[in-house]
Symmetry: C2
Subunit: 305 residues, 2 copies
């Protein structure tokens, strides 16, 4: 085991920074500030310049950023270069990086994904750790064969893993809410996650194996917290997707730890929506991003710590 356990590191940072904020780096090209797009040589360059500015603007208020890998893959090889450089920039600014790829496969293939995104034994020297983040998101549909390789890599490198349990979208019910002997599929997955993570708990009491639990289903969030007392939560769906502070409060323990909350559009495009559009506008978009992150931080911290 490495000296660092991801859950302990996350807990330490939440306490020190008094922040449970994760900023989602989902750089939709059509929404970037003109200042950025007009001075960039390519869409991938624009994405990287935008991410750097956003990271700088939120570094003081966030504990982590969560780049959504789809938006980089969409831009091809150049996009993946921008992804790699964005990850490095965030880490240089002392932010944890959660690579949101929802990867899933089995055995040696899962180990290859784990090596790509967490490093560790299977990391090929040649990759130079291009895509190496501090934590990754994964999908549980394949069972423990698809989780174990990520746990092994994370345990060896001090990384973290967040498994999808209950996602924030409306149609998540179609598979996740199916009834299985008195409970739901996602509740059974929750039990598995708590169990899989048990050998990987740190001094904080939390495991390096976390769970993704959407902010849009507050009652389920509270029930899942009870069912997974040692599992850190990554809670998406806050802000633009509808989740409010009172909806996510149940994710936290009494000290405000045990969970982080992600907002993407609500922070990175803050100047495009109330109340920041009137106060700042596109001309002062960086300040709007900082203000939105600061507001999210204080709203969450005051309500939960």
């Amino acid at each position: 085991m490495p000296e660092r356990n991801f859950a302990d590191e996350l807990t330490r940072r939440i306490r020190e920074r008094r922040s449970q904020v994760v900023v989602g780096l989902d750089p939709r090209l059509e929404r970037l500030p003109r200042e950025i797009t007009e001075s960039a040589d390519s869409p991938a360059d624009a994405v990287l310049a935008f991410n750097r500015a956003v990271i700088d603007a939120v570094a003081e208020h966030a504990v982590a950023v969560k780049p959504q890998i789809a938006f980089y893959e969409q831009l091809g090889c150049a996009g993946m270069h921008a992804y790699a450089k964005s990850v490095r920039h965030a880490q240089e600014r002392d932010l944890l990086v959660i690579g949101d790829g929802k990867r899933n496969d089995i055995a040696s293939t899962a180990a290859a994904y784990a090596a790509a995104h967490l490093g560790g034994p299977g990391d090929e020297a040649a990759a130079g750790g291009d895509f190496r983040a501090d934590a990754v998101t994964i999908n549980p549909y394949l069972g423990s064969d698809g989780v174990r390789p990520f746990l092994q890599a994370a345990s060896a490198t001090g990384g973290g893993v967040f498994v999808l349990v209950k996602t924030s979208n409306a149609s998540s019910a179609e598979v996740q809410d199916l009834e299985v002997g008195g409970c739901r599929v996602y509740e059974r997955v929750a039990e598995l996650v708590e169990q899989w993570g048990e050998p990987y708990r740190g001094e904080s009491g939390y495991s390096l194996l976390g769970a993704v639990v959407g902010a849009t289903f507050p009652r389920q969030l509270a029930a899942l917290r009870a069912r997974m007392p040692h599992t850190p939560f990554l809670v998406p769906g806050f802000g633009a997707q509808g989740g409010r502070v009172e909806d996510v409060a149940a994710a936290f323990d009494r000290e405000g730890c045990g969970a982080v909350v992600n907002s993407s559009r609500g922070v990175i495009f803050a100047w495009q929506r109330p109340p920041y559009d009137e106060e700042f506008g596109e001309g002062r978009w960086r300040e709007a991003v900082t203000a939105a992150a600061a507001r999210m931080r204080s709203d969450l911290w005051e309500a939960t710590s």
Copy 2:
């Protein structure tokens, strides 16, 4: 709707080529021929050189190749370049390419993955279609919000989509076999897939929305074929993973169509295992690859058409 429906295209190729063979391009570095690794400048170069040789060696006998994206991501940006070039080379050799990424997300994020791997409306000009394949694999855990964007992209570009239904690994039972009101989770997912694919059926009677069903559970395969009569199957787990011709026969319709079967290690590393190790050895590894693909093709075709 574009003129080409992926299921029709797949059916046409199966008939013309008398082949249901998909060759999995899972280039594990430690298993590449020394001839390749010794003349390559980097691991990613070795992977690309190996893939090109394998593609040339199997082009006559396969209908498609299925690169497993994890093995390219593991090599970082250089690996993704090798992936892009491997995809192009296979298409130039008249093979369909199934990008095996098991991607999953919702709404605009899923649309970004779909644009990356299938092209279409959301495809950014700058990407140059780097990762654009003919079909992709996706994961159903997020429900229809995570499937619709892929269907829309595939429908617009003539591409195909294969949803994980029942995977070939032992622990697939942990989530996929949970009992939900008289059936299993994977059977419910099967019903959803058949239903989601209904508007996208071609002249062949099959939908561009297919299913991944492992070769290692023959009884379930037969039952799923009955449950999803209009859904083309992608069957992994053949050969090295244990699946035999008789195990996969139920996947096909009476004319030998409606399914393709993947073998990775059994073909691309054929010279490392019986009977090809003695007959060819590493010195004639290309011939071993061709022989294994030819044998798989004839074994399957004779048993199922």
